[in-house]
Symmetry: C2
Amino acid sequence: MTRIENLYLLPIAEVAALIRKREVSPVELVKAYLERINAMEPTVKAYITPMPDEALSAAFEAEKAINRGDYLGPLHGIPIGLKDVFDIKGVRTTLGTKGAVDLMPTEDSTAASKLRKAGAIFLGKLNMTELAFGITGENIHYGNTANPWKRGHISGGSSSGSAAATAAGECAAALGTDTGGSVRIPASLCGVVGLIPTFGRVSLRGVFPLSWSMDHVGVITRTVQDCAILLNAISGYDPQDTSSADVEVPDFAANLDQGVQSLRIGLPLAHAWDILDDTVSNRVTRATETLAQMGASLTEVSVPFFSSIADAFSPIARGEAIVSYQDLLKSSASSLDPNVKQRVEMGLTVSTPDYIRAQQARSRLRQEARAVFQQVDLLATPTCIIAAPPYSTEEVKVGGTKMTLLDALGRLTRFANFIGLPAISVPCGFSEGGLPIGLQLIGRPFEEAEVLRAAHAYETSNQWRLHHPSLA
Amino acid sequence: MTRIENLYLLPIAEVAALIRKREVSPVELVKAYLERINAMEPTVKAYITPMPDEALSAAFEAEKAINRGDYLGPLHGIPIGLKDVFDIKGVRTTLGTKGAVDLMPTEDSTAASKLRKAGAIFLGKLNMTELAFGITGENIHYGNTANPWKRGHISGGSSSGSAAATAAGECAAALGTDTGGSVRIPASLCGVVGLIPTFGRVSLRGVFPLSWSMDHVGVITRTVQDCAILLNAISGYDPQDTSSADVEVPDFAANLDQGVQSLRIGLPLAHAWDILDDTVSNRVTRATETLAQMGASLTEVSVPFFSSIADAFSPIARGEAIVSYQDLLKSSASSLDPNVKQRVEMGLTVSTPDYIRAQQARSRLRQEARAVFQQVDLLATPTCIIAAPPYSTEEVKVGGTKMTLLDALGRLTRFANFIGLPAISVPCGFSEGGLPIGLQLIGRPFEEAEVLRAAHAYETSNQWRLHHPSLA
């Protein structure tokens, strides 16, 4: 066996080919990742609970299985990290908090169990915004996750560790969750790929809920192809998850190369792109023009509600968070980050009529979105309207408009959760400060394949994966 | 033209054939109904706002159209009543209440508009339980609707006028609404057919809401075939109704005669039939045995949640009613029936977490119901576990168990609204006191055709429509 440099930076598809040909062994790969984690963690703080022993012993098992010819597929022997909301049997689920939370799962979440069956190896539980209630990457208990591209800048959240670890070579890919942007925002800010499938596509069983009607399991990877590989493994109907949809699951990795010919891409310019940093605007515009050059058609579409759904989004997210965290608020309010506590407690002010009216508004917007998706196949926007700012930024000025950091990061991502649509963030360039910018593509319900195909076409036209973070 | 006796008691299908052959004219038919209304109303109190002038002038229009060969189909010239929650342009919508409500619609509800396009003639707006919040037929403002089978007995509600008028020959059929049984209960108690289609099948636009996530438009007719004819007219996607489902609409009247061969009918005996009046039990059992003799298979199924959904049903119904009636509670609380007011105000005690947890329970039960409907095609139960009691009954003793009248009437109907399933009540016999008993058949989402087919097979095996109420 030849020793390959920087094994821990290879996309899954490439390293899987090496494993399959037995040119790389899962043990060698896991060791490379464990070394990498040791080297990077003092800076990046992506892990809450590393699982080196379990990972190594799983790697030996995988190696044995592969050596005797029992190759399970492209995730066999691949080291994955999981945001610390996914139950793994026998490993504490912290939700990024401390205190009275004492969740010791007796079984795997469905997503973890499916990854295990596909041969994936768990490297550990990843850092996250406390209770998944925030989007910067700040965590007073386990440390602020660093943006691997620039020291002191936010990683984005709440799946902060998932994005930073994937970008920094501390795992080959990661699972995250996304209720308003928590997978796509950190993926965008850390320069990796982040996908949420349609609501109902991937089981939420064993994933601690934030907002039961808007939570999506998501994946963070280095390439779009890797996204498809992970999505293949974790998708499917789960009779134990009430939000699970019993719809056919295509092979997401099979038709990635079909290109974007005849794909209609809608640009909700006036409403979603209204306030943009010049660089973000240039990069994302260039990305959509690239797609047009490859055969897609671009249309400006009117989606007036795109960036104005906050009024209906907030009562739902907040009201449902109270149901999720009611016990926790009682038992360990004193140990919560005061900012997080304040955010959670805002849910107590949501009245039943407020919540119901928000759901009614949601129902109306779902129908309006449906009409938009009769004109176009995908919507394209920036993922975030700014690149990652330094930690402790509270307000930003974008295109002359002052706004909170939360609004700047989350204004274009909530839409997909609100309607339950699949969406991806794929890197499309860098800010002048050298920080990544993401292109968001949003698709129709259960049309992840179309989202992936367009993102893959764009990505492979640019060879983004040749770029690696400066801290890495 | 030969003068036909009791024109006003003929099923739509029969009178439509006569109209088409010009053996009966719409004017003659409307006049027969108007006479009948004049004769019956002092006793029955089925109408809030009769529309004799509009009906007659529409009848002249229909007659002219048919005479010049523009026959629109089986509803052309057919006199229909509408529960007073359906907007008709220029006619006050009262919701069965008085006081500050002053709803003068400037356009037809979608259902009314579709009926009009099919050539139907509106006889008037029908009596109902005030605000649709009750199931007896009591109304302090417009009079208690009488059960046409026995003076002093309840008609059932909230679509009291819809059922009583159809049974008493005061309209050929009626539209009603049903949030927990409000179409099927009065249909069952008045010995007529009552159907609710799948949630989303018929537009709710222009129908004053009670519970936006459980309201169903329904139809009340004298035969199952008439149900199919009405459903054909009012079904279909409505982009102006956010709950509307864009699914194909079959011809419900086309394949009614296919029989029940190979149909699997589930009997949730232990859970839904647990407490039954002996006569109700005998009649409904005999009805399902009739279906079995015609080729259906009967299976006892376990639906443990069938009669125990009240805990989750109530917070949703009550919480959503507050949103519907908030303005009304402010403006005209003093004129409300104190019982109705009290029922509505119970919604004020539903907290946001209560409501959300109820929706989560609903989501679980929807999934469990899905599993039940993999074993069977239809569920069969009594519609109500008792026949119509006298007005002012508050408690009843059924099979040795004391319960409120509300519970006795509504315990088996809420399930369909809770899950959004199509369900029919079809007459299946009489109590010892000579009051009608109903068989309820519940189907899979968007399988109204199967529900109608089974109900039609049963009905035509028994010639129920030869029976007419004693008051009539």
